[in-house]
């Protein structure tokens, strides 16, 4: 991504006056939640990643493009969702306009490689923090705590109330995505797990009677329920805790701590709440923001 940065610097020089003018005007941050409260920038030192990015005037963020409510790209290729809003809050603190953020699609399998190769500066992609991942990337946050839940046809015809139901009904199949943490979790209750390539792929086996439910993080299920026009509903009984973090280069502790500061400020000034209400809040209740983990 270094060559692109160089190109942007040239462009920046040309449009420098314009951008500077824009900066002086916009006392308020890029987000629309900072009304009335303090809109101060979280400070950072020279020579850090933050200074580099702010000078380049652009940031590359990896996110999901197929995750309703969190990161979903429309036909125009611009993703929308809660993860996107969090990205805008962070970029806003670096004086990077939402339009100058370069969004790159990351899927579960390539998040670590993209961070390690420098292809992206940040990954905000419903990215669960765990110890194995911490060996190769750093995590700021968590900025949201999801939990594994169960999606069933509307009206819940089987009466599924939680994962224990599958232990009592071992001949009933539950569907999830192969390789996901959700599969490992549900396998503690039943071995009758159908493994699909994508969560949306799980819906056809349910319609065809080959599975009775989908299980994974509640936010993903909420997205599926949201798009199904009332055909499916979430049981709403989370049985795990999945802290979603922001992935960045290993050992860039300054950047990590700075993002943690940004997140904490967004909790206080209401921009986190606003980000939630304008996206996932359409389906899920406003949760309490989780405490960031400054490991």
């Amino acid at each position: 991504m270094r060559f692109r940065t160089a190109g942007t610097v040239v462009a920046l020089a040309a449009a420098g006056a314009l951008i500077l003018g824009g900066c002086t005007d916009s006392g308020a941050p890029a987000g629309d939640g900072g009304d009335g409260t303090t809109s101060e920038k979280v400070p950072y030192d020279e020579g850090t990643t933050m200074a580099e990015l702010a000078e380049a005037g652009t940031i590359t963020i990896g996110t999901k493009f197929a995750q309703p409510l969190f990161g979903l790209a429309g036909p125009d290729g611009v993703p929308v969702g809660f993860d996107i809003e969090i990205g805008k809050i962070i970029a806003g603190q670096l004086d990077i306009a939402p339009g100058d953020i370069k969004w790159v699609e990351t899927v579960s399998q390539n998040r670590e490689p993209f961070i390690q190769s420098g292809e992206v500066d940040l990954v905000i992609a419903t990215y669960t923090i765990n110890d194995d991942r911490k060996k190769v990337v750093s995590f700021a946050g968590p900025y949201y705590e999801a939990g594994q839940d169960i999606l069933v046809p509307a009206g819940n015809p089987e009466g599924i109330d939680g994962p224990e139901w599958f232990a009592d009904n071992p001949d009933k199949t539950v569907c999830s995505v192969s390789g996901s943490t959700s599969v490992t979790n549900i396998q503690e209750y039943t071995s009758n797990v159908l493994e699909a390539a994508d969560y949306a792929d799980c819906l056809d086996p349910i319609r065809n009677g080959q599975a009775v439910a989908v299980t994974t993080d509640n936010v993903i299920l909420a997205g599926l329920a949201d798009q199904s026009d009332g055909e499916f509903e979430v049981v709403n009984n989370p049985f795990t805790a999945e802290p979603y973090g922001i992935g960045l280069a290993l050992e860039d502790t300054e950047f990590r701590m700075w993002i943690n500061d940004v997140l904490e400020q967004s909790y206080e000034d209401g921009s986190w709440d606003a980000a939630w209400e304008s996206t996932a809040g359409a389906v899920l209740d406003l949760p309490e923001p989780p405490a960031v983990d400054r490991y």
Binding site: S108, Q109, N110, R111, E112, P113, D132, R133, K135, V136, D171, T173, V177, S178, G179, S180, T181, V183, T184, N192, L194, E195, A196, A197, D201, D204, P205, R207, N208, G209, Q210, A211
Partner: protein, 222 residues
């Protein structure tokens, strides 16, 4: 490397399922492909037409679409194999899809071999009173099969790799298992993918060697 060892049981399970898909679809496609080739060579015009349509339809459709049809449309019509749990059903459906998709390639390889046998062989067989089936089965095919071992092994090697498409349709073969391993150990993605490649090579390279061996054994000295 430790990530690969840690997930070896998972990958090994995936490897066995890949082998099972290869075995079932390979044998199925060899049998079905021979039948289709025979139909296309038969003197009965409707049979030739059916075989031609079958060949052109299946070999010109992307495998992903064929398997999607078997994984989604067939169960939707209520035609999923009964008496199996869901995973078993999808395994059977994927095996059928791979068999059907591969059989036209086998059939065409066999037909090219048959076409390479001088027509005098068939005329000689018919002139001593052998029927169509006997001519094909006793005279032409034994010679033709020898000629088509390299292309058939080619098709089987392609099939080995094609089984990975089933990983997208509820069958946890090598690629599906690697997704699990990668999610568990995102810090070692490259090592895990390399180990998956090695698993495929463990199948495909011996297939190539087997081809050389069989070719030598059955070579016809002309």
């Amino acid at each position: 490397m430790d990530a690969v060892l840690e997930n070896l049981p998972l990958l090994w399970g995936g490897f066995l399922r890949t082998l099972a898909l290869l075995g079932i679809a390979g044998v199925g496609a060899l049998i079905l492909g021979t039948v289709v080739a025979a139909m296309r060579l038969s003197p009965v015009a409707p049979m030739r037409t059916v075989a031609t349509v079958y060949t052109e339809l299946l070999r010109n459709t992307p495998l992903t679409l064929v398997l999607l049809g078997f994984a989604v449309i067939v169960p939707n019509l209520g035609l999923a194999p009964a008496g199996l749990d869901s995973r078993g059903q999808f395994f059977v459906l994927a095996s059928i899809g791979l068999t059907l998709y591969t059989s036209p390639f086998i059939a065409e390889a066999i037909r090219s071999g048959v076409n390479s046998i001088p027509v005098g062989q068939a005329e000689a067989a018919r002139s001593i009173g052998l029927g169509f089936g006997q001519t094909l089965g006793e005279v032409i095919l034994p010679q033709a099969i020898r000629m088509v071992i390299p292309p058939i092994v080619n098709v089987l090697i392609a099939l080995t790799k094609n089984t990975s498409v089933a990983g997208g349709f509820f069958v946890v073969e090598l690629i599906g298992a690697s997704r699990g391993a990668i999610n568990a150990r995102g810090d070692e993605v490259v090592a895990i993918l390399l180990s998956v490649a090695v698993f495929y090579l463990v199948v495909t390279i011996p297939l190539g060697r087997l081809q050389a061996f069989v070719e030598k054994r059955v070579a016809v000295l002309r």
